[in-house]
Amino acid sequence: MKTFLIGFLIGIVLLPAGFIWYLRSGNAPVATSAPPLPLERFLVRTAMHATIDRHETPIQLTNVNQDSLVAGAQLYQQNCAVCHGTPGEPPTAIAKGMYPRPPQFFRPNARKMDDPASEVYWKVKNGIRLTGMPGFYASLNDGQIRDLSGLLVNAASLPPAVIGALKNAPAKVSEPAPPASKHAPSPHKTT
């Protein structure tokens, strides 16, 4: 019985101790270009999907129309484009340098945006910790998060006006834009 316990305890302690020793050694991947730990992606995806499945509330995106898409596009321009890209533009230096890489929603051969609306909504609202993805629950209201979600689930088939809004927010200032946020100027240069 005593051997039992001792063997058991040593077994339990061994792995965490080895892990700490590894971290202390200075060999753990810290740079964004370092390769991931074994099983890292697998474990992280498992946790993310399990948690989102458990917490998400099913939402229906009703009333997705040109206006809501343009509104979503403007929000996207201001809050998302810096990491997730805009149509026809290469990924930003910021996006290229991050680990994990933020998915580029408008690259021609990008991963299809095939997440269901409820999941997109959950991610925009709550963010994903340890990825750089912010949660916008405190900054955007429910309607805005819905507009963004509507834009993203339709990312592959957007009308030209919406693409225009995605590429160039300042051009839209003249319109009585929905949840308007002034102009979205990129202060200097560009083009």
Partner: protein
Amino acid sequence: MKKYLIVFIIGILLVPGAFYLYLLSGHAPVAVSASPLPFERFFARLAMHATIARELPKAEAGPPTDSDLVSGAQTYRQYCGVCHGFPNEQPTVISKGMYPHPPQFFHSRPLDSYDAARPYRPSDRKVYWKIKNGVRLTGMPGFSSSFSEQQLRQVSQFLGNARNLPPDAVAALEGNTRKPPQSTTVPKARQRPASRRK
């Protein structure tokens, strides 16, 4: 002896197994507002500091010139401010939503006044390392493939002297077209790095 080995193996498997089940359960913190796992910060800091200490560049970049600080400020404005903030401005919506929170280098405060008599500080090698390599699982990008060696150095020098910036660097940091301060509930405009060339 055999019994011993079996319990030993069970013991080894127990912790990872329980951890995996925990992740599967859907209770793991995924939302940015969820509270961190026990020891998460401890482990993360341990690994980060150990690795950076090991890979620290040997030579420290010397103190900057005024024009280094101006260039550093321009680069900061384009690539860093969206998360790390500007003087006199509230943290952006993006930075407020992230976990971990990006440190706010200007604390939304006014800048300290410039003291021309005070010598500039050399750049911090750890800061340089972070700008160059990034910090995975935080959102901090590594700019090694986007910035030149000189830009990396200038940004780290700029940050090292953020409390004592000459007027030209302040102007570069603030940009020529200042946005009016914005309320925190309205999405920000200036959040996008202006330049896409590169």
